[in-house]
Subunit: 197 residues, 2 copies
């Protein structure tokens, strides 16, 4: 049945959705009440039409300048660089940061053809170097894996200036982590970065 | 951002999609080329408009009578009863069956309020009891879990007639299964249903 297979193929294009999950989703959609299907269609259309990247931090927003960038209560001197919009949401949930963000929309990954030109690196450099800008510190909060580390190192070299403070989010044992179950590299990192009490 | 949250909420309604996966999907959709987003919208609309249940076997189809029911080459005397459309696809892939199907669209589950009246049981009974019908055997191919077993037992009692052969798909050790790793109930079933060689 072409219609059915086309629907499944559409779902399979999403990352993390395999053939079985695509089938489950197609089935759910066919059995769902019309209101639910219409709501899905409307929310997709609305998102595609309204959501764009903030002209300042490159995060997704439905305004010209996003809510965080246009909030005068945020610390304008600190810039936290993340890979993806979800990372902004995660840091906001932690309530541990009151500065601004910059979203790269990816990370360096030469094997996948992701070079700096495909990330929002130029926008970041412009922001940091802007002579009228207030940026005093850049917090590199890319992921703690190989590609995230490489991206952080690359940005640190690119942006380095004597008057600019550059930092990397701490790596170590996660809170509530049982030492027995933590891999040796994380444990090694936690040991070598130990803090004096 | 309301638009973004609405899109994520729409994806979270699908079974098996948690908050993280919904975020990944929303992000993918926003970054996808227009052609891909349009194709998703079109395939959902097409499926909702065209797909209905076959008037004979209750499987999803885009015709009045589905391709399997209208195929004269299939054995009209055997009816395989399954829970969901995916089960038909799985059995077809096994190339082990040439009869017809009947899709219940669920299984008995009193705790979830799924009684026989919410399944396509009446249609099945009508098909099996039809005096002009050719059904000689009913293969009960509901899942091998508690609710699937209960559904099979219920249907066996409901449909039982002296001239009707009733069977249940075999349960036992899956092919390639390592006995060490197979749960004791499956192993017990495989032992008590052992075949003479």
């Amino acid at each position: 049945m072409k219609t059915w297979e086309r629907l499944i193929a559409s779902f399979k294009r999403f990352p993390g959705i395999g053939p079985k999950q695509a089938e489950r989703m197609a089935l759910h959609l066919l059995r769902a009440p019309s209101a639910e299907a219409d709501d899905l269609l409307a929310s997709i259309k609305e998102a595609r039409a309204k959501i764009r990247t903030c002209s300042c931090c490159c995060n997704f927003t439905d305004r010209e300048v996003c809510a965080i960038c246009s909030d005068p209560g945020r610390d304008q001197e600190v810039l936290c660089v993340v890979e993806d919009p979800q990372d902004v949401a995660a840091i906001e949930r932690s309530r541990s940061y009151r500065g601004l963000y910059h979203v790269l929309h990816g990370r360096l990954s030469p094997l996948d053809g992701m070079g700096p030109e495909r990330l929002r690196v130029r926008e970041l450099a412009d922001r940091v170097r802007d002579p009228s800008g207030a940026v005093r510190e850049v917090v590199l909060a890319t992921d703690a894996d190989t590609e995230g580390e490489a991206t952080a190192l690359y940005l640190a070299q690119l942006l380095r200036r004597p008057e600019l403070k550059m930092s990397r989010i701490a790596q170590g044992v996660p809170l509530g982590g049982d030492l027995d179950y933590i891999d040796e590299r994380t444990l090694g990192q936690a040991m070598s970065c130990r803090r004096e009490l």
